[in-house]
Symmetry: C2
Subunit: 158 residues, 2 copies
């Protein structure tokens, strides 16, 4: 455990092939693959994913996207924030702190974070000090937003 590190993942065929082992493989990954195939993006360009390798294989990943403060509807004062999604550790490697390692990495930017957790993952997010955002239907439909606040940032209340 001690020597694993979080790495920025590159957009290449190897990464995209490893992504197939994750449950949350969907339109985003397919779109990345098509962009690569049609040379819309360069091979080995940076992807929005970060991951942990173990024995040469990708065993955990998350996608992190920085949202400009002008689109922020969650925080006070309005602030750039990170949208964290597709956090997933492969089954065999769960319970070993890899998920926490990725979340700690995200927190290290000292920006507020928003995520939309999968079913049955609330216990994990609570341990990570994430809290439920007040539900606002117009903003949050289809989501159960959780947020993490660095010092000096509060949740927005309108």
């Amino acid at each position: 455990m001690g020597d694993v590190k979080v790495e920025k993942l590159l957009n290449n065929y190897k990464t995209l092939d490893e992504f197939k082992r994750f449950k949350e493989y969907g339109n985003q990954e397919l779109s990345m693959l098509e962009d690569l195939q049609s040379n819309i993006v360069e091979n080995n360009s940076e992807s929005p994913f970060y991951g942990i390798y173990y024995g040469g294989s990708l065993i955990a990943r998350m996608s992190l996207y920085k949202v400009d403060k002008k689109y922020d509807q969650y925080f006070d004062p309005q602030h750039d924030y990170l949208e964290l999604w597709k956090l997933e550790v492969l089954p065999h490697y769960q319970g070993k702190g890899h998920g926490k390692k990725l979340v700690d990495f995200a927190k290290s930017f000292q920006l507020p974070i928003k995520t939309n957790p999968r079913i049955n993952s609330h216990g994990f997010w609570e341990k990570m000090d994430f809290q439920k955002a007040n539900y606002n239907m117009e903003r949050d439909f289809g989501q159960n937003p959780l947020i993490w606040l660095p010092e000096g940032i509060m949740e927005r209340t309108e």
Copy 2:
């Protein structure tokens, strides 16, 4: 099967209690419960949910929310559309057409529809004539949007 019908669900303690049997119970339902408890909404006010009852119990449901055309980022021409989410049939009642009944009900408004399907439900949505939206990271992060187009509406391409 012939006699089941889709009903608008009311926001009351009975409905909210029945919601607990669905996997996708989250912030939205908790927020509805709190609003009811603190009299922010009236008992039996309309909820954004539709459902199917069988033998007096709620066995299937979905949430439907009409998004104003000024917020539309998916369709051409820009159009009011329905955001469909939390479509779920209780396990014992699956495979009997209840999911299709709810989706057909949503289509009956003749508005374009957008949904963000759960993992492993793509086969169902394909049968319902939904298609993948072109993935746009800034718009779609954390989602795998699928859309349904009524006659005369196309997907937006920028």
